[in-house]
Structure formats: structure tokens, C-alpha cells
Symmetry: C2
Subunit: 305 residues, 2 copies
């Protein structure tokens, strides 16, 4: 950063041979977090982490971010301090310093984060390159974040915030290293991050690539939250398909490159869950060989529940 | 733009030899505009124009923008269409295409705009370079936007929105060409845009440059809204000092370069209104030679009125 906070705008020197990646994300009280339930430092962490997840989805490296913050007057003390603790933690972890922003007063907390990243020219991961026959992968375990949210919601503040099952909901880690690795080695034909749930996001990737997909239920099971937390498979399957906020990567790999995809990358599980089909539509195939269309059940702010 | 709306993030190829400028701005219903008073297309125009004004203040060229929009369900029809008409107008006028964004639902209209610009490496106009003895300039006529806002507020919807005195409040034009010209020719030692009023913004420039300023009242008068709209000088002076939203440029020029500053640039009036002083503090000098400190009276969202 050549010039940060304090001038009219921030100045940033782009790396030669790289493209600039731009993304912005709302994080609004009542919609994306609950002020009385979510620890304040997790609000700071998550608003940056989830915006940076879009940089990971492009295979990029975060370079800096802008913070737009609107808060009530009475939150300028302790709340703001705690918020900045979490934000600074995420900023350090992601090596993504603040470059500027805009603050104002409102009766509710409004946050908007713009993250600027970089990716080697021509190496960006996009949604539109999946081809029929490609294998579909996800990182991590789907549904974990949604399970954490349910725990937070149902326990009326009696839950310990240090519980491991809340970790992924409160402090998600964008898959920067995985995205970079896929982009550097040009291993993925398409990629995106899972923010709204597989049943909503996979059809988006398919639409962008003008293809369909068949998910293998038993393979999806091994990329889903573990048994001990939710005993019934039906419920776990719903979590894996519809749970939002996981910020795992969904990516497709040409058959010829599948042998280059290990079962874990830096400790993060990678699972082949299905394949890209020529027909449009996204289906799930059960163990008995029967398949049925997946109904989009993820997060959509304009759907009336 | 290599990749726009529809993927996880936008991709932008930076020009070699240029720095990237980043800025973001809130534009919130009830705070920055009134939904029942401001024509919807002006909301679209202004949210982009005012963010682009920070690019002008750095001497840069806008390249693209990100739009974060949160609106109530019932505004997704006509309101959104009109909003986009104004936004598209500004986007065309500023040669600044949309590159991406984020939309969600809220019970009030929330807008955040990030503008990305470029400036030749080392040529950016910053706030911190003013030196004692430099001459202080402003572009245009100060207080015009505030006068328009008052008219809009006081006339209870009876005012014709095509009235010229509303023009600058509703459809401000960021001073891109002036900023570029000052940056290209390295004519200004410091610059910023006037968004919160001269009495608030000039002290900011002085603080960044560690200098003071003396404004000449009679010179300021000639850079102020004209006689026929507001007859009393006292009231016009208050408008020039405290009126916000003008988006004119405030800049300082070394004495040796003053002869290179014309009285107009592409039809836009440029007025020398005072000079930079060694002492800290911002003063105004009257025709009788007496001077008094300027009290900051511009816009501050955290001040309780």
C-alpha cells in the first residue's frame, strides 16, 4: 500500500503480470449476524473472511480491503474495540491490510467489505469452464457452519462460544491456499466458493458453464459433517446440500488431471462428489442407482420463506 | 474488464505504469438521501458520482465500480428501474462501467459504492503536500449543492425537479478532468474534494500537510453561489463555508506555478481563495484586515446537533 487511510482514497501498486480481483460483500445486523448472539470479534473476523473467500474462489491472493462501517453512537466504545480485534485477527491471518473505508452513523450495524486481490494473468479460476465428464470436488466438510448456527440459535445464549462446533460458523477460514494452488497449477476447469449451500451454488456453476451435474450421495456423505454431531443421515444430507456459510471451495477437474488431486491439501480434505453432465440440471444419485433432481434450498435474500 | 458480474469476483487488468486508486462510499436512505424527496434516478446518479469524486481528488481516472445494494422487496420494480437509469447515466458519463457487486434485502435502501481508478505512478494528488506560501484554490461555486438541498427540503414537493438550482445537489459532477489535468502536469502540491464543506475539509487538508491557512473573505465571495439566489452575504458566506456535497476540488499550488493556473479550466471556474500559512489553524480575513478562526460547521455523522 502506498497510501492508506487518511487521504481521499487509497493507492495500491499492482504487481506486474497479475490481474486485479475485486469483490464486495454486505454483512448486516439482523440479516447476516445477530448482535445479541454473535460474539463481537467474530463479526469483525467474519465480515472480512467471507469477502476474502471470493478471492480464494478466483485462485487469488488478497492484497488489501476497504471497510464501510455504519454503527449506532452507543457502539463506538467497547463494541467497536471488540469488532476491530476480530477484524485485525482476520487481516493478519489473511495478510490483507486495511487500505481505507467510510464510516457513518446508523441505528443498526451495517458493514460492507471490499477486498482487492491479485492473480497471475490468465490463471484466475472462473465458474464457466466446467466440461461434461469433469469430476466435481468440494473441500472440507459441508454443513458444519450451518450446524454451528443452529446450535447458537437454539441454545439461547447458554452455549459456550468456545465450543468446536461453533468455530466454523463464527470464524470461517477462506480457502486461499487451496485456490492459489488450483490456479497456479491450472488444475481446475471451474471453481466457486460455497457461501449459499451446495444446492444453490452448484446450479450457478453449472449455469455459468452451460452443463449439468450428478452428485453421488454416498460420496457426498464423506464430505459432510460427522456422525456424532447429527446422527440421522437425512438431516446431515440436508445440511450438506442446503447449509450456507461454509466457504469451502467447489471445483471441477478434467479427468486427465484427477490423479493430481490429493485426498487432502495442507490438511484440508478434498472429496470427489460427482461429475459434470451434458444434460442441464443438477441431480443426486442414491446408492440404489436412482437419481432425483436437487431442489435449491440454500440462502436467497429475496425468497419469502 | 476481463470478467464482470456473474462470477465470484471481477477481474481487472491494471495499466502498466499506473497505480490503482480505491475508494468506497455509503449512500443511505434517511442519511444521504430521502426516498420521498429525491428523484430515484438522482439517487442512482449521485451514489456513483460522489464516490468517483474521490478518484478526481486523487487526480485519477475512474475505471470501474462495484455496487452493493440492499432494498425492500417492494422496490424491486419501478424504483429499481429508475435507480438504474440514473446509475447508468453516471456510469456512461464517467466512462466507469459496473464490474460487480452484492445485493440483498432490507427494509430501507442501503447503498455502498466502491470505485476503482488509476493514476500514473507517482502523480497522485494527496492531501499532505501543501507548503506555507502555497496558494489555495477551489473550483466552481461553493454552497450551490446545499442551496439546492434547502430548496428541496423547504418546498414540500412543490418544487420543480428540473429547476437549475437543484441540478448540483441532485446530479453532481465529479471534477475528473480538472483532477487529471492537475495530476498530469503536477501543478498541485495537495488536493482533496469538498464533500463536507470548506470549514470541515480545509482543516483536514491542513492537518495532513501540517500547515494552517488564511482564507480571504472577498476572494471566497467570488467563488460562492451567486447573488440573485441568496441576497444576504452572511448567509452566502455560511453556505460557502459549511455547505456540503459540492464535490468541487480544493487544491494548493506553489507560488512558482500560480501563473499556470487559468481562471477557468474547461469552463469550470478556478478561484484563488487564500494561502497556506506556517501557523496551524484555519482563519478567514475580512476586507478590513481583521481575521478570525473558522469554526468547522460542515457535515459530521457523529456530531449530535
Amino acid at each position: 500500500m502506498r497510501l492508506g487511510i487518511g487521504d481521499d482514497a487509497a493507492l495500491f501498486v499492482p504487481r506486474s503480470g497479475y490481474e486485479t480481483i475485486l469483490t464486495c460483500d454486505w454483512f448486516l445486523e439482523g440479516t447476516h449476524f445477530l448482535r445479541d448472539r454473535h460474539p463481537t470479534d467474530s463479526v469483525g473476523w467474519k465480515c472480512l473472511a467471507r469477502a476474502a473467500s471470493d478471492i480464494a474462489a478466483m485462485g487469488g491472493t488478497p492484497r488489501c480491503f476497504l471497510l464501510s462501517l455504519a454503527i449506532p453512537n452507543e457502539l463506538t466504545g467497547r463494541w467497536l474495540t471488540d469488532f476491530l480485534v476480530g477484524l485485525r485477527e482476520a487481516s493478519r491471518k489473511l495478510k490483507c491490510p486495511i487500505a481505507g473505508g467510510d464510516t457513518t452513523r446508523q441505528n443498526r450495524v451495517l458493514i460492507n467489505v471490499t477486498v482487492v486481490g491479485e492473480v497471475r494473468r490468465g490463471h484466475a479460476l472462473v465458474r464457466s469452464g466446467a466440461k461434461p465428464g469433469d469430476i466435481i470436488y468440494v473441500s472440507g466438510r459441508l454443513g458444519e457452519a450451518d450446524l454451528g448456527l443452529s446450535a447458537l440459535r437454539s441454545n439461547h445464549g447458554k452455549i459456550r462460544l468456545s465450543e468446536p462446533r461453533l468455530e466454523k460458523h463464527l470464524y470461517p477460514e477462506p480457502r486461499i491456499a487451496l485456490g492459489q494452488w488450483l490456479a497456479d497449477r491450472q488444475l481446475a476447469t471451474a471453481a466457486m466458493d460455497l457461501s449459499d449451500g451446495l444446492s444453490t451454488d452448484l446450479p450457478r456453476l453449472c449455469a455459468a458453464s452451460k452443463v449439468g451435474a450428478i452428485i453421488n450421495e454416498s460420496k457426498l456423505e464423506s464430505a459432510t459433517v460427522e456422525h456424532n454431531s447429527v446422527p440421522k443421515w437425512n438431516k446431515r444430507l440436508a445440511l450438506a446440500l442446503n447449509g450456507g456459510d461454509d466457504y469451502e471451495l467447489l471445483f471441477t477437474v478434467a479427468r486427465s488431471k484427477v490423479r493430481k488431486i490429493p485426498s487432502t491439501h495442507r490438511g484440508l480434505k478434498l472429496t470427489a462428489i460427482g461429475k459434470v453432465s451434458r444434460d442441464s440440471g443438477v441431480k443426486i444419485m442414491r446408492a440404489d442407482g436412482q437419481s432425483s433432481p436437487i431442489k435449491s434450498g440454500g440462502w436467497d435474500p429475496f425468497r419469502t420463506n
